[in-house]
């Protein structure tokens, strides 16, 4: 009871929903999803917290629901973050090997990674992830593990994801305020790509686009490693907002229309068609042009993909995407979205399935759960590296273990 190292929880405080996913590692180390809790999010805009009280309440609801479904007590979570303040960039660090025999040691590797992380990040920003790419030893490229090799100069390319410290801390504080431990903070785009991509797809080069409510996060994996990430603070909320303005309806109705009649591509058959929304208390009945709705949505979604495409082109990543493009997030439900992305990128596009987790209930295999499931996956990978994440100080924990085992016996 005091030690549940096998339970891993991913918590995503999104713009449209707060979602907690509970995973469990069985005796063989395979991951099982055993519970999900969600709550409608009310205090987040464009991926960033704007109303801490509302967020706290939503997180509590989601956690409680997940606990009930999984029948466990949640003590710690892996927290997913997004928002316009999060940036990814690639950097190269250099370190001279100083030891007499020129053998590269583990310390040298640590130093070179530290050097690569050190530059260019503004003071107020905090590094979320520093993803090691390949090493270079004396200019020799594509070295996976340089420890034990001989060389005078060790270099490494690192993809650094960093974000504004205070804004990250806001989310962490809310979670900590509920007596939950935050094991780690993970960029949502990274989590989604962990959940969706198989080893082969990562190796081939794949782009994962998480079309969220407030932000669109994306990550490129190639050669088995995350090579490029980005956040566009535009999401499903913007689509709803565009519809509300363009069709002159209330936001709530726009959201409903988007879900019911939305599509990513303008449709010749929709021309001239109208939708009638019935009157409610305070809102009159209204007849709308379906073609307008489709065109407004199409322009916004097209723009999102175009901006991502421009960013990838600048980073010279478009040539690496032989594995195709995978969509997830609530936006992946929009009919025709894969076709639209395919037209823009000219690559194979599919709505991502969370392939990487065995025995997933089909109800959970929805694109909007990709990021929180990826958080669980991240946690399981992390737990494998660090086998004992004890909540209590080491000795004290042992004492309790002994105590309980004695009682049990």
């Amino acid at each position: 009871m005091f030690n549940q190292p096998s339970v891993i929880v991913g918590l995503e405080i999104g713009t449209s929903k707060v979602c907690a996913v509970v995973g469990e590692r069985n005796a063989e180390g395979a991951l099982n999803i055993i519970g999900v809790g969600q709550a409608k999010s009310r205090g987040v805009r464009k991926g960033e917290i704007t109303d801490a009280t509302a967020v706290e309440e939503d997180v509590r609801n989601a956690i409680v629901e997940a606990e009930q479904m999984a029948n466990v007590e949640i003590r710690s979570v892996y927290l997913g973050v997004s928002g316009a303040h999060i940036r990814g960039f690639s950097n190269r660090g250099v370190h001279p090997v100083v030891s007499a025999d020129r053998e590269i040691t583990a310390e040298d590797v640590q130093d070179v990674v530290k050097n690569a992380k050190a530059v260019n990040v503004p003071q107020e920003n905090h590094i979320l992830h520093a993803i090691r790419q390949h090493f270079l030893v004396d200019g020799q490229d594509r070295i996976i593990n340089p420890v034990g090799m001989l060389g005078a100069r060790l270099e490494v390319d690192v993809h650094v994801i960093h974000g504004n410290f205070n804004r990250l801390q806001n989310a962490i504080r809310i979670v900590k305020g509920m007596q939950l431990e935050v094991e780690d903070v993970v960029f949502n785009g990274l989590a989604a790509s962990l959940a969706l991509l198989t080893k082969e797809q990562k190796e081939l080069g794949s782009l994962v686009i998480d079309l969220g409510g407030g932000t669109t996060d994306y990550a490129v994996s190639a050669g088995g490693i995350i090579q490029h990430t980005g956040v566009l603070a535009v999401g499903g909320d913007h689509v709803t907002n565009d519809l509300a303005i363009g069709l002159k309806i209330a936001l709530g109705r726009a959201e409903g229309l988007k879900l019911e009649h939305g599509a990513a591509l303008p449709d010749a058959a929709a021309r001239g068609q109208t939708i009638t929304i019935p009157g409610e208390v305070g809102l009159p009945a209204k007849t709308l042009n379906l073609d307008h709705l489709r065109r407004i949505m199409h322009l916004r979604l097209e723009e999102i993909f175009n901006l991502i495409g421009q960013d990838l082109e600048r980073a010279d990543m478009l040539g690496h995407l032989r594995g195709g493009i995978f969509l997830c997030g609530g936006g992946a439900h929009i009919p025709g979205i894969a076709k639209l992305a395919q037209d823009i990128f000219g690559l194979h596009v599919s709505v991502g399935k969370t392939n990487t987790i065995s025995s997933l209930k089909s109800a959970l295999d929805q694109p909007e759960f990709a990021a929180p499931i990826g958080l669980v996956k991240f946690g399981s990978l992390r737990a494998r590296q660090r086998p004992k994440p004890s909540l209590l100080p080491f000795e004290l924990g042992k004492t309790f273990d002994r105590l309980f085992s004695r009682i049990g016996a």
Binding site: R45, K46, E48, T50, A84, P122, L232, A233, V234, D237, H238, N241, D242, A244, I245, G246, L251, N289, H292, R295, I296, L299, R300, E302, E303, L307, Q310
Partner: protein, 413 residues
């Protein structure tokens, strides 16, 4: 000071017009920039070692009634000396304080003469403080409009904005001094750009192209920093600079010139970093950059920016031709509004007809010409709906929170 680069050295002439111009030139002379020829055009003789081109007396009583001919007549006695001095110049800076009589009246005339010699003519002027009475402001404005019409480019330093740069308790004397210092710093920055050995030299023709093509009002700002973080500090200073409207001028600028000057330790990587950030600030602008080394700078880094203003200056309306102007004036360039349907297309005959009716109609002829050229306000009320109060998401100069279909001009009908 640095060694002048003889092969690319340009003849740079600076002429101060009027009292304020004289003071500014005196300050520049004190800086002892090599290869700089200074002169003063004024009624009273200056004290410094510079060429003095005397003006007979204050011939213009009131600028508002004075026309070009009167100014030319007053300038005629000094013209041979002025032309002799201008001969062979590649760049002519005209330094003046607008608002007074001499500066406002003669700066445009000198600009015309200088441009006639083929030199790149740049006006560096200050405009009066708001408290200096409206008459001076009016004179300054007229002077500025005329100077803009005559010179290749005008860099104006509104004294009013300086108030925001300095402490409230600064004495009046110091305020003027600071204003002068800012202007001299700007001048020195441009001079350095043309004169110092460049890591990345600015091509003179490019500069001329930039300045002449815009024909717009320019603003400038300088920032300096030292120490390990100087690159970032300089950019931060520039972005927050009151003369650049807190960085807004950068975003709207069609063109910008950046001059980076550092000590011998200036690295290309540093220049790159500064430029990368500035480029991000002025998206959509044609950015011209130069970097130079000045031995005296040690670990300091100075960045001078000259930014063209967003709107292109209107053609100056010659007095007495208002009617024809109404008929033939080019329409002000303005992106089509997304909400207002375009006005019905009129055939030329129809325009004539309408104009004729306006001239004679109802026996009430409208004498007040300027009213006919009433401009349209940029009324584009673009709602951002639920994102009204959130931090804007700007990419490529577009606010992505505004609906895409509005930005793309899609018509819903």
């Amino acid at each position: 000071m640095s060694t002048p680069n003889e092969t690319s050295a340009r003849n740079i002439n600076i002429i101060g017009v009027g009292g304020a111009g004289q003071n500014l030139v005196a300050q520049l002379v004190a800086l002892a920039l090599p290869g700089l020829r200074c002169a003063v055009l004024n009624t009273a003789a200056p004290t410094g070692p510079m060429e003095f081109i005397p003006l007979a007396a204050k011939p213009v009583r009131d600028l508002e009634v004075a026309d070009g001919a009167q100014v030319d007549a007053a300038l005629a006695p000094a013209q041979p000396q002025l032309q002799a001095w201008l001969a062979g110049a590649d760049v002519v800076f005209i330094v003046a304080g607008l608002g007074g009589k001499t500066g406002s009246a003669f700066a445009p005339a000198v600009a015309r003469l200088a441009k006639a010699t083929g030199a790149l003519t740049l006006g560096f002027v200050t405009t009066p403080f708001a408290c200096e009475a409206s008459r001076r402001a009016r004179q300054a404005e007229q002077g500025l409009v005329r100077l803009r019409a005559e010179a290749d480019g005008v860099i104006a330093l509104p004294n009013e904005k300086i108030v925001r740069l300095i402490d409230e308790n600064t004495s009046l004397l110091d305020t003027f001094k600071i204003s002068n210092e800012l202007l001299t710093a700007g001048l020195a920055g441009v001079w350095r750009l043309l004169h110092c050995p460049g890591l990345i030299p600015i091509h003179f023709d490019d500069l001329r192209e930039l300045i002449r093509s815009g024909k717009a009002e320019n603003v400038f700002a300088t920032a300096e920093a030292a120490g390990p973080n100087r690159g970032r500090e300089v950019v931060e200073q520039l972005v927050a600079h009151p003369l650049l409207d807190g960085g807004r001028a950068l975003g709207a600028a069609p063109a910008a010139l950046v001059s980076i000057v550092g000590g011998p330790g200036l690295s290309l990587a540093e220049v790159n970093r500064v430029m990368e950030q500035l480029n991000r600030q002025c998206e959509g602008a044609q950015v011209l950059m130069g970097a130079a080394i000045d031995e005296t700078f040690k670990d300091r880094l100075a960045v001078t920016m000259i930014v063209a203003r967003g709107e292109v200056a209107k053609p100056v309306a010659p007095v007495g031709e208002l009617d024809t102007q109404f008929l033939h004036a080019a329409e002000p360039v303005r992106p089509p509004s997304r909400f207002v349907p375009p006005p019905p297309a009129l055939s030329p005959e129809k325009i004539e007809q309408l104009a004729a009716r306006r001239m004679t109609g109802g026996g009430r002829t409208r004498k007040s010409g300027p009213k006919m050229t009433q401009e349209q306000l940029p009324l584009e009320i673009v709602s951002k709906g639920r994102f009204d109060k959130s931090e804007p998401t700007v990419r490529n100069g577009e606010d992505l929170d505004q609906p895409t279909f509005i930005r793309r001009g899609m018509v819903l009908n």
